[in-house]
């Protein structure tokens, strides 16, 4: 593990009206690391990652991604930075008016000036990576939930990002498909040496994939450590997650 930070969040605050969702939250993701962020539903995990990619403004604090402070960069720089971040949405978020091929081609056409043949080859490679080359001309509505999640993963990876953010990657999937997705995430991490931030409340997923974990409680980074350290903790608030 190289100790080079790719994401640094310091003293982050975010409120909605009177409700404080993030309260002095800190996080560092290192290069090549799989960091799992766990927390209860509604604890602010999704808000955090939306702040992280600039989809939502935060009130106070700083977020540095690949050395750039995202609150102090121009929109064009932010767009450029976003090409280094792959994002797997909880609901897959595939463009439902486009075929699988068009979904995968979309980021390529906008950010790379590849020839038609190279674009085609990259789309096919991305689909091979997730084991779904046969779905290339299907519409998202024709795919199962697990297949949609895999295609979304292929789309997140197509620009070969340095960081991948997974928002609840196994939520809503049956245990077998969830395991397949976890395996796929591990393979991808090995193949592309990406750094991953995984937001989940699936303990199995965290156990298998995490190098390090952070528990998000009351808007704070309550505790950090390896899965085993947290699982063996006697703190009742931590124990509640591992029951």
């Amino acid at each position: 593990m190289k100790n080079q930070p790719v994401i640094e969040i310091k003293n982050l605050y975010k409120s909605f009206g009177q409700t404080r969702v993030l309260n002095d939250f800190n996080l560092t993701l290192f290069k090549g690391e799989n960091l799992v962020l766990m927390g209860k539903s509604g604890s602010g995990k999704s808000v955090l990652i939306k702040c992280l990619v600039g989809l939502m403004d935060f009130d106070k604090g700083s977020i540095k991604v690949l050395g750039k402070d995202i609150s102090n960069i121009k929109q064009s720089e932010l767009d450029e930075l976003r090409t280094d971040i792959g994002f797997l949405f909880q609901g897959s978020a595939l463009y439902d008016s486009m075929t699988v091929r068009e979904n995968l081609e979309f980021p390529l056409r906008r950010h790379q000036n590849d020839s038609e043949s190279k674009t085609k080859a990259r789309v096919e490679e991305a689909l091979e990576n997730v084991g779904l080359p046969q779905t290339i001309d299907l519409m998202p509505a024709e795919l199962s939930g697990g297949m949609q999640r895999r295609i979304a993963l292929a789309r997140a990876l197509i620009l070969k990002p340095k960081i991948i953010i997974y928002d609840e990657p196994t939520t809503g999937l049956d245990p077998i498909t969830a395991k397949e997705i976890i395996l796929l995430m591990m393979n991808i991490q090995k193949k592309y040496a990406t750094s991953s931030l995984i937001i989940t409340h699936d303990v199995d997923c965290a156990r298998v994939i995490s190098n390090r974990m952070i528990l998000l409680l009351d808007g704070k980074d309550y505790i950090q450590g390896t899965f085993n350290e947290l699982a063996l903790s006697e703190d009742p608030k931590i124990k509640a997650f591992f029951k």
Binding site: R82, F87, F89, L94, Y95, D96
Partner: protein, 259 residues
């Protein structure tokens, strides 16, 4: 008191929405003139709105021409003025009925479709996904749709007007033994540029209104799938009202210039 306070909050939310729409319109014009221009998506939207509305506009226009002529015929016959039929029909259709009816049809077809599509993209995080991939979703989804609606509506109205006149000519041919050549000669004699230009100009504004309201409602929809239905429905209702207001303003201005 409850009645008053509920109406008061209704007024406040109405004016808030008008303010939000003003900001949305301002952003549209800022993004319209900044690079990059999404030409491919603009053409795609022109095809979706123009070509795919053609049948609906054609059928509506044709029936409009038929019915309008059938309804007017007995009255004109009573006054011995049936020979005025082509002039009367053409001026009414080109100046007023054609643009308004076809704009209303398009508000239903195009406005609701934009509202539902963008609303569904919003609640399923597709718009967020687009933004995260480094694409400006406002430019890609909103600017292209509003511009396409603005450009396509005048063409659809011209086609609809022509088809309505063909429908009217068929009735005149069947009932009054008026040849197509004679009918259209009288139509072109009756119509002047002062009829055509203001009527065509206002359709650009109608198209803009349809695209703008559909995009605004869809892009700002929330509250899950129920919000998508609401966005689609309110896009049609609000656009229909707005079309009549715009029509009144257009007629008022035309009247000042040409009276």
């Amino acid at each position: 008191m409850k009645f008053l306070s509920s109406h008061q909050s209704g007024f406040i939310s109405f004016f808030n929405e008008i303010g939000d729409m003003g900001n949305f319109t301002g952003r549209y014009f800022r993004e319209l003139f900044s690079k990059p221009f999404e030409f491919r998506e603009f053409l795609n939207q022109c095809y979706q709105m123009g070509n795919k509305s053609l049948l609906l506009v054609g059928v509506t226009g044709f029936i409009l021409g038929l019915v309008f002529t059938l309804q007017s015929r007995p009255t004109l016959m009573e006054f011995g003025a049936v020979s005025w039929m082509p002039s009367m029909i053409s001026i009414s259709i080109v100046r007023e009925i054609g643009p308004v009816i076809i704009a209303l049809i398009c508000a239903g077809r195009i406005g609701s479709s934009i509202g539902a599509e963008l609303g569904s993209m919003k609640v399923t995080e597709q718009i967020d996904a687009m933004e995260v991939s480094g694409t400006n979703p406002f430019k890609y989804l909103v600017v292209t749709r509003i511009l396409a609606a603005t450009c396509m509506l005048p063409l659809l109205v011209i086609i609809g007007d022509f088809v309505a006149l063909v429908g009217s000519a068929i009735i005149e041919n069947a009932k009054g033994d008026v040849s197509f050549t004679l009918y259209f000669n009288q139509v072109f004699e009756a119509l002047e540029f002062t009829d055509l230009i203001p009527a065509t100009l206002k359709t650009f504004f109608f198209g803009f209104a349809i695209g703008l309201v559909g995009c605004f409602k869809g892009y700002n929809s929330n509250k899950g799938t129920a919000g998508v239905g609401k966005a689609s429905n309110s896009a049609v209702v609000f656009t229909s009202m707005l079309l009549f207001v715009l029509d009144f303003i257009a007629v008022f201005i035309t009247d000042i210039f040409y009276s």
